[in-house]
Structure formats: structure tokens, C-alpha cells
Amino acid sequence: MQTETKARVDRLTSPAGHSVTVLRFEGDIASTSKDAVLGTYQTLPKETTKLVLLDFTKVDYINSSGIALVIQMLIEASNASQKVYAFGLSPHFTKVFTMVGITKYAGLFSGQTEALAAL
């Protein structure tokens, strides 16, 4: 009965020439999003994925169980020496991510252009 979370993977190249893997989420990020968040992340080939960018533009609702899934992804990414960034969070969820400290391990950008320019 809960909204399903959708996830899509895009491969882009930053202006600096680096390959960036964008995970675009749509729907809720909640306890039901395990497949969409961790499952999708785990399909990425570890050897060629060094920069991961999370797109939250189409996400309206994130709860603490959803944030825990993002943290689990950050743990796996840290173990694989990948860097994770994010964009598209509302001002409210930017505040929430900052409060729980996620921003220490996943840099936030206002939009995709700003993110790519910095990567």
C-alpha cells in the first residue's frame, strides 16, 4: 500500500572528465525502499564506479528508516573507496541530512549541474 520507490541509473561524465554514476530516486525513501536504494547500488560494478551521485529531486518523503538505508549504502561505498554525493533535497531534508551528519560522508549540491561541475 505504500508508494513504491523507483530507481534509475545514469552514467554521465563530469566537465573534468570523470565518470559519474547517478542514482535517481522517485517516490518515498522509507523502510520499503531497500531494493531501490541498496539493491540498485549493489548492481553498480565496483571497479568502474568511483563517483556516485544521488538524485533526490523526485523524492517528497524521507524518513529515518530511509536515511538508515542511505547510511548503509555509504558504509558499502566507503569500503569500496567510492565517493558519494547528493543533490535535489528540499531545504527541509537538507537540514535533516545535516542534523544526522550524513553530509559529512555525502557532499550535498543544489542541482546536478553544480554537482557535476565540482566532480
Binding site: 505504500q2 523502510s31 524518513n63 529515518s64 547510511i71 531545504p91 527541509h92 535533516v96 551528519g101
Partner: protein, 148 residues
């Protein structure tokens, strides 16, 4: 339908994950009627959602035969929200989550709900039910809080 305090709204939800979104919408509508700013309404929505999720998961242990009560009372310039479940209530207030410990696997990646509630509202209090039932968390959010 009598004898309800005229400035209070009550909602009763099934103990099923996802229904916290119904409480969020109801709370947001009450806060909007009271004149809260959009930013504070977002804070309230997240706090109410986390309180309902805990009531559903921990208090009522996902037993759909039990429901979660949400009582929204406007008192002067404040909105008080009680989220009531049928559990025994909290044993202890958990420690503040530590992102470094979480990333290094020294702490469960979960355990952020109560921290967020406390960080987002002006008052948060967990009260154990007298008879090992009807425990609740009581949140207060005030209109026009200066410091933000």
C-alpha cells in the same frame, strides 16, 4: 461525538507502516490553520511521522489489530501533539546517533527517529502508560519561535 475539547483534532490510524503519512497530512493541515510557517510545518511533519512509525513498530509491534492515536491540540500559540500506542513505552532515551560510529560499523545504522523528533520540535517528552499500555510521546511546537 460529544465532549471533545473544541480546539483539538484526533486521528486514529491502523498500525501499518505508510499510515504515518496520514498523520503527517492531518498535522500539517492543523498547523496551517494555526498559521505556522511552511518551514515549521515541515519540521512538524517529520517529527509526527517518526513518532507514528515508532508507535506502529515498537509500541504496537506492527499488530494491525491495534491502532495509533494522534491528538492535536492548539493551546494559545502552540500546537501539542500526542502520539499514543498500546505498548509499555520507552525503557531509556537512546544516545544521540553518531554518524562516524555508524559508518565504521560500531553502531546500528538505524536509531535516528527520536533524535530527529527532539531536534525538530520545541518540546518532546516520552511518557510510559500507567498500566503498561497507552504510552505516548508528547510534542510541542510553538508559533513564531524566534531562535531558529
Amino acid at each position: 461525538m460529544t465532549n471533545t475539547k473544541s480546539t483539538s483534532v484526533e486521528v486514529r490510524l491502523p498500525s501499518r507502516l505508510g499510515y504515518e503519512k496520514v498523520a503527517m497530512s492531518t498535522a500539517a493541515a492543523v498547523a496551517k490553520l494555526m498559521g505556522f510557517r511552511e518551514e515549521r510545518i515541515e519540521d512538524l511533519k517529520t517529527a509526527v511521522a517518526e513518532a507514528c512509525i515508532n508507535a506502529i513498530e515498537h509500541g504496537n509491534r506492527l499488530n494491525e489489530g491495534l491502532s495509533v492515536g494522534v491528538v492535536l491540540s492548539s493551546v494559545d500559540d502552540a500546537l501539542e501533539v500526542k502520539v499514543i500506542d498500546d505498548g509499555k513505552g520507552l525503557k531509556t532515551i537512546p544516545p544521540k546517533p553518531d554518524i562516524d560510529r555508524k559508518i565504521h560499523g560500531e553502531e546500528d545504522p538505524r536509531g535516528m527517529g527520536m533524535f530527529l523528533i527532539q531536534a525538530l520540535v520545541d518540546e518532546a517528552e516520552w511518557v510510559k502508560g500507567g498500566n503498561g499500555k497507552s504510552s505516548y510521546v508528547r510534542l510541542v511546537i510553538r508559533l513564531d519561535k524566534e531562535a531558529e
